[in-house]
């Protein structure tokens, strides 16, 4: 019967189209990769006196700073993502073992923390200790609650997905449901949630460095260079690191957004 109906105005089941944020995320990833490559290659562009950054070409100097900023953001971002995702997974596991109360309390804590200006902890840690490790830890902790909240929401939706019930109806024991269906479907949304930590880490570090309380000067940082140039009143030195920082932040946010926009639509009706 369906064949004689005229062409529908709107199809109920369109072929899967790329998600709206996807192209932006892709370009974000490309920009970030280019920035990282350029920063890594910066020492080759500079002459022998690279270490004396003041004398270098401002663009090259900014690229050199990128090494510090980006690698620190990567370190702290990965750490923050792992902490956040671990938090959410632990909450879900505990819910199964101990009861929903623990889970609810853990996630309420995460939501509350995510609402606080935790980024202020980063300059505090930088000012108090100055050790890069501690700074990374503080940055990661500042980024983790937001990651945990999102990861938990994604996991929650996934746990209620109908295909898990279908798998149980097929007599699969819980560990098999976990291995065959839950984990493969959880990886992508969790990765996407973890991505949220990257822009946060970059922003927090730049903010701390801007105040002069961030990364040690030897490592170099866009925030620090912007702060220094502003204090010296040197627009020529200020523009390159500020622009590169803005570009990197945009790219990191685009990647995170693209990841977040996707998975919920794949799981279907809760």
């Amino acid at each position: 019967m369906a064949g004689i109906d005229p062409q529908p105005l709107s199809h109920q089941a369109l072929p899967p189209t790329p998600r709206p944020g996807f192209a932006r995320g892709l370009s974000g990833a490309a920009v970030l990769a280019a920035l990282a490559l350029a920063s890594a290659a910066a020492p080759l562009m500079a002459d022998g006196a690279t270490i004396r950054r003041i004398d270098a070409d401002p663009v090259v100097a900014a690229l050199l700073d990128g090494r510090g900023s980006l690698s620190f953001a990567l370190l702290a971002g990965v750490l923050g993502g792992v902490i956040g995702v671990g938090w959410a997974v632990a909450a879900n596991l505990l819910a199964g073992l101990v009861g929903d109360r623990v889970e609810r309390r853990m996630m309420r804590g995460a939501t509350r923390l995510a609402g606080l200006p935790l980024a202020l902890l980063v300059p505090l840690a930088g000012g108090l200790s100055g050790s890069v490790g501690l700074l990374a830890l503080a940055t990661a902790f500042a980024a983790a609650p937001a990651v945990a909240t999102l990861a938990h929401a994604e996991l929650d939706a996934l746990m209620r997905a109908e295909f898990l019930t279908a798998a149980r109806a097929a007599g699969l024991p819980e560990h098999e449901v976990l291995r065959r269906h839950l984990i493969p479907n959880a990886l992508r949304p969790l990765l996407a949630a973890g991505m949220l930590a990257l822009p946060r880490a970059l922003a927090a570090e730049s903010f701390a460095s801007l105040l002069g309380l961030g990364l040690p000067p030897a490592l170099g940082s866009w925030g620090a260079s912007v702060g220094l140039a502003a204090r010296l009143g040197d627009p020529l030195a200020l523009a390159p690191p500020a622009l590169l920082l803005a570009l990197a932040l945009w790219a990191a946010c685009a990647i995170a957004d693209a990841g977040v926009a996707g998975p919920a639509s794949r799981i279907g009706k809760p």
Binding site: M1, D5, P6, P8, S10, Q12, T165, A166, A170, G171
Partner: protein, 586 residues
């Protein structure tokens, strides 16, 4: 966003001077609608008298919305209109879904529209809407229209939109998919009220919707929009078909012995404790008993909140019910399912064997497929788990067989679930259920996401599989006629209780419980004899759950829950006064 998708046009916008035809408010001549090169409507001619109610039915994308737009004088963008659509007098279009701003108080939005049309102030507009609500039969206690639409039940929203239309009193009222998504008994009640008003006030009313929405019931005339033509449609809103298989003559196999037995099955959920520390729980399913015989088809009939879906899950032990037991061939499944959730015993007390025999059909087939795996890959897991006797190299063969049995091509195994259409997903769901060669299929509205034609195709495939394999079948549905057409027996569920159980023929012809009668009336497009909306599960009246809506209700109904009693062999009814006449106007 002050105008919630409603518009009016004063006379003469499209009207041509037909002096002799001035009495008819709608006079459409050779109206053609084109969407690009595609003809939505081909030279349609239509005349509607004052007070005439017309239903226009058609599948998704058949051009109903475009037609209504043309009649309302606000053509849908991208659609070219040719011919004349003469409308004499004020016209009002209630757009699909009502199209209200979700966060603003409903009363305000509605009163603004009324005020805009009639040029009266807000107070007068609200008074007129209140009169309209009287005509729609909304009791004053239920009028919480200072709330935004998103916090109101759908039925109230629709009642309020209709009241607004009544307040404005147009010469032509157009409603696109009115009351879509409401329970049949509620939908038909509202539509009949609206139609009554239109007839009484001499308003021409056009209701447009899908064929399965039962719009033809309240209408005087029903047209079906098919392939660009408006053709008269049959009593059920579908175009007249010659080869409709005669339902009563359908040879149904005589059921054998009882295989699946549920006794006192109840489901409750814990709620947050009360302020005084008392434990609370919400019981959604109250001690239901049920037998399913070999080769029997049982229809579970109920609307929103009837807990038919919960019952289906409880029967499958997904999760097991909180009280009562479900036994398959004499073996208690509830015990097996509860003791083993957590342990990894591969075949706990024959549970897996029972899972092989009892297979579910899910209400949203697309969501029941793992998006990260091809159809074939997940089918292989099912086979591995439920049919260890099929060797690994024979699995692909069995999967192809099951897909073909479900009316799909064997290549579907290589496809990804996200690339399937809704209809294909439903058939894939059926194929998965058939994969383990089960004895019983238990489905909760498995075709709810499909259009009328797709649903008919799906049900045909399902019934063919049932007959070929002598399956027992439990199908939950809110469509009473459709559910009973191919069933041996039916259970009518209301608020988690069985209110009537009888063989299908009895339920189709002479149900006794007031709620069953209302559901049957709604399924036939007649006026259901029930007032108001279903109470929320958290706020159930004491005594009979139907008593605030029931035409037979008497004071005693508030005091005691009616038990399910046998009134004739095989026919049980839970009502104190099933044999009494209605008490006038309740």
């Amino acid at each position: 966003m002050s105008d919630p998708g409603l518009s009016h046009h004063t006379p003469g916008h499209h009207t041509l001077g037909h002096p002799g035809l001035a009495a008819a408010p709608v006079d459409v001549d050779a109206l053609t609608l084109m969407l690009g090169d595609h003809v939505l409507l081909d030279r349609a001619t239509l005349r509607l008298e004052r007070g005439e109610v017309l239903a226009i039915t058609g599948g998704a994308g058949s051009g109903k919305t475009a037609l209504l737009g043309a009649l309302a004088g606000q053509p849908v963008p991208g659609v070219d209109v040719a011919g004349t659509a003469g409308v004499d007098g004020r016209r009002l279009l209630i757009a699909q879904g009502g199209r209200l701003a979700p966060r603003r108080p409903l009363a305000l939005q509605v009163a603004e529209v009324v005020g805009h049309h009639l040029g009266v102030d807000l107070r007068a507009a609200l008074r007129r809407v209140a009169d309209g609500l009287d005509r729609m039969g909304v009791p004053p206690a239920a009028r919480r229209f200072d709330l935004p639409p998103e916090q109101l039940p759908d039925s109230l929203r629709w009642a309020c939109l209709f009241a607004m239309a009544i307040a404005i009193g147009p010469a032509l009222l157009l409603a696109d998919a009115p009351c879509a998504g409401l329970d049949p008994t509620v939908r038909l009640r509202l539509l009949h009220r609206l139609a009554d008003w239109a007839r009484a006030e001499g308003t021409a009313l056009i209701l447009a919707g899908r064929p399965e929405d039962g719009l033809a019931g309240p209408a005087d005339r029903a047209l079906s929009l098919r392939r660009g033509r408006l053709v008269p449609s049959g009593p059920d809103g579908e175009p007249q078909r010659d080869a409709e298989p005669a339902p009563p003559g359908h040879p149904l196999e005589v059921p054998g012995t009882v295989r699946l037995r549920a006794h006192g099955v109840g489901v409750s959920y814990p709620l947050a404790p009360a302020p005084n520390g008392e434990r609370r729980q919400l019981t959604v399913l109250h001690a239901v008993d049920l037998d399913l015989r070999n080769g029997e088809t049982l229809a579970l009939l109920g609307e929103t909140g009837s807990a038919k879906a919960t019952l289906v899950r409880a029967l499958l032990c997904l999760p097991p019910p909180t009280t009562g037991l479900v036994a398959w061939m004499g073996r208690d499944l509830t015990a097996a399912a509860t003791t083993t959730s957590g342990s990894d015993d591969p075949d706990p007390a024959g549970l897996r064997r029972a899972r092989r025999d009892l297979q579910p059909l899910f209400p949203d087939p697309a969501a029941s497929l793992d998006p990260a795996m091809t159809v074939g890959a997940q089918f292989a897991i099912v086979l591995e788990s439920l049919r260890p006797d099929i060797a690994a190299d024979r699995r692909a063969h069995r999967i192809a067989e099951a897909l073909e049995e479900a009316g799909l091509r064997a290549e579907t195994a290589a496809r990804w679930p996200t690339a399937l259409t809704a209809a294909e997903a439903a058939h894939v769901g059926l194929a998965r259920a058939l994969l383990s060669e089960p004895r019983v299929l238990i489905g909760d509205e498995p075709a709810a996401t499909l259009s009328a034609d797709e649903r008919a195709g799906f049900l045909d495939t399902l019934l063919a599989a049932r007959d070929r394999r002598h399956l027992s079948l439990i199908l939950a549905t809110e469509r009473m006629e459709e559910g009973l057409r191919d069933a041996h027996r039916g259970l009518v569920l209301l608020m988690g209780r069985v209110v009537e159980s009888a063989d299908a023929a009895t339920l189709r012809t002479a149900p006794l419980h007031p709620y069953s009668r209302a559901m049957l009336a709604a399924a036939r497009g007649d006026r259901p004899d029930l007032a108001g909306d279903a109470p929320s599960a958290l706020n159930q009246p004491a005594g009979c759950p139907l008593r605030r809506r029931c035409p037979k209700a008497r004071p005693f109904c508030a005091q005691a829950m009616p038990p399910l009693e046998e009134v004739a062999p095989g026919h049980r009814v839970a009502c104190h006064y099933w044999d009494m006449p209605d008490n006038g106007d309740a």
